[in-house]
Symmetry: C2
Subunit: 288 residues, 2 copies
C-alpha cells in the first residue's frame, strides 16, 4: 500500500469508529466534511517519512500517529474558520463546517476530532513503551504552552511576538509530526524537533507566497487575504522574490537538521521533492 | 494527603505546566477561570474511589486519570456555555469564560483543556501497560460515538432520543471515571461501566431536582431553567417527589452494580454518603 492510501485508509477507519449507532448523524457528517476530501496530508506524510527513516518496525503505531496528527490539523481548521476567528466561508473549495452545519456543530466537530486523534492512538494499542512518547509528542504539539492552540490564542492577545506566533501556530504540529514519527519507531523524539520546526516555517512562507500569487480557484479559498487584512506575511516583509529565497534557505536548514539515521539519504531526497510541490511551477513563474 | 487536596494539587500542577514562557497569558487565565475555584469534583473523586477499591498500587496513574477526567469536564462546561449553545452568563457564581474572555478564547480554552487532559496522562508516564486502557476509557467517554461531545451534539439533531441524550451527555464521563479508575489500578475496566452510568443518571436526576428547588444563589447559576426553557427533566416528568424517589432507586442500582473487589464495602459506604450530598437537606425539605 502506498503512503497516501495508507493515510486515507487510517482516516476512513477512524471516522468509521465514530459513526456507530447512538452517535448523532449530523455530528459525524460534520466530522467527515472536515476531513474529506483530502488535503495535501503533508503532516501525516512527514510523520510516516520520519518513522521510515528511523527504521520503523511498527507500522500500526506510526500510521496511528500520522492519522492523529492529521485529525488534529483538521480540527484546528474547523475552529480557526469559526466566526469568532477567521469567519471563513470556504475551505478546500467547499463551505466551511460552520457554514454547512452551523456554529454549534462546528465547535463540537472540532472537539470530537481532537478526541478522535487520541482515541485513534489508544485503540491501535501500540507497543506500550512507545505509546507514552507518541502521546506526549502529539499532545504537546497541539496544546499549551507551545502547541497550535496556544499559537491561535496569540490572536487574542494585545501584544504579539510574531515569530513566536508562527512557530506555535504552524510549526508546532510539524514538530509533533517529526517527533511522533521518531517516537513511533522507538527513537528518542527530541532531536527530530528542529526538522519539523524548519519545515513548518518553510510551509508558512510558501503559504504566504501562494496567498500572494495564486488565484482563489487554485487555492480552494480566497487568495490575497494577507494583503486585504494587512496580516503580517513573508511576502509583505520580503517581497515575492525575497520570500522565495527565504523558502529555499529554510528547506536547506531543514535538510541539514536531519539527525543521523538509517534512512537519511532517502528522507533528504523526499523533503527536497516535497519542497518543490509547496509552490507549484506556474505560481513561481507568475511571481518571477 | 486527603483526596480533595490530592485532586486540587494535580489540577494546579497541570495548569502550571500550561503556564510557561511562550504561552499566551490570556489563554492561561481563561483556562484557570474554567478550572478554579473548584466545583464539587465529583467525577475525579469517583475515579479515585474506584481505583482505591480496586487496590490501587499506582497513585500517580490514578491521580492523573482523575485530573484528566475533571479537565475534560471543565472543558465541556466552557463549550456548552457558548452563545451557540446555552449562552450562559454565569457559571459557579462567576461570569462564564466567554463572558469574561470573549468567544474566541472560550473556544480555545476548551480545546486547550481537552488536550491538557491527554498531556497530563502522557506526562505522568504511568506504567506503560496501564496507559493504553486508561487512555481508551477516558477518550471514549468524551468523544464519538458515545462520549459527552456526542451527547451535546444531540442538541443539534432534529430528532432526539432523550434517554440516549442523557446517557451520553452526563453518563459517559461518569462511566469514564469509574472505568479509568479501574484501569489505573490495572483492573479490567468494562465491568465498572454500569456503576458510572447509574451514578451519572442519578446525578442528572439530582441536577433536575436542584434546578427546580434551589435558589440561584445556592446553584451559582440561574435556577428554574428547565421549566423556563421547557427542557425535559425528571421533575417535569415525575414531579419533585417522584424524582426524589427515582434518585433513590438509581443510587440503589449503582450500589448493586459494584463489581466484586477488595474495597467493595468502603466504596458502597462512600457512594451512599455522596448520594446524600447530591440534594442538600434544605432543598429536600423545601421540596417536601
Amino acid at each position: 500500500m502506498d503512503v497516501t492510501t495508507q493515510i486515507e485508509q487510517a482516516l476512513v477507519d477512524a471516522l468509521e469508529h465514530a459513526d456507530k449507532p447512538g452517535c448523532p448523524p449530523r455530528l459525524v457528517s460534520a466530522m467527515r466534511h472536515a476531513v474529506f476530501p483530502k488535503g495535501a496530508r503533508i503532516r501525516p506524510r512527514l510523520c510516516l517519512a520520519v518513522a521510515t527513516a528511523c527504521g520503523d518496525g511498527d507500522p500500526k503505531t506510526s500510521t496511528a500517529a500520522a492519522a492523529a496528527i492529521e485529525l488534529l490539523h483538521c480540527a484546528s481548521l474547523v475552529h480557526d474558520d469559526l466566526p469568532c476567528f477567521d469567519d471563513a466561508d470556504i475551505r478546500r473549495g467547499l463551505p466551511s463546517v460552520h457554514r454547512a452545519f452551523g456554529e454549534g456543530l462546528a465547535v463540537l466537530a472540532g472537539d470530537a476530532l481532537i478526541v478522535l486523534a487520541f482515541q485513534t492512538l489508544a485503540r491501535i494499542a501500540p507497543a506500550p513503551q512507545r505509546l507514552g512518547k507518541v502521546l506526549l509528542s502529539v499532545s504537546e504539539g497541539v496544546g499549551t504552552p507551545r502547541g497550535i492552540v496556544a499559537g491561535q490564542a496569540w490572536e487574542c492577545e494585545p501584544f504579539v511576538d510574531l515569530a513566536n506566533y508562527h512557530r506555535l501556530k504552524t510549526g508546532a504540529l510539524f514538530a509533533a509530526a517529526t517527533m511522533a514519527g521518531a517516537a513511533a519507531a522507538d527513537v528518542e523524539p527530541a532531536p527530530w524537533r528542529r526538522l519539523g520546526e524548519k519545515i513548518g516555517e518553510a510551509f508558512q512562507v510558501a503559504d504566504d507566497i501562494r496567498d500572494a500569487t495564486a488565484t482563489s480557484a487554485e487555492l480552494g479559498k480566497p487568495s490575497g487575504r494577507d494583503a486585504a487584512l494587512s496580516r503580517p506575511s513573508a511576502v509583505r516583509e520580503l517581497g515575492v522574490e525575497g520570500a522565495v529565497h527565504r523558502l529555499g534557505q529554510l528547506v536547506g536548514d531543514a535538510i541539514v537538521s536531519i539527525p543521523s539515521c538509517q534512512g537519511e539519504v532517502e528522507l533528504r531526497t523526499l523533503i527536497m521533492r516535497e519542497a518543490k510541490r509547496l509552490v507549484p511551477g506556474k505560481m513561481a513563474q507568475r511571481a518571477a
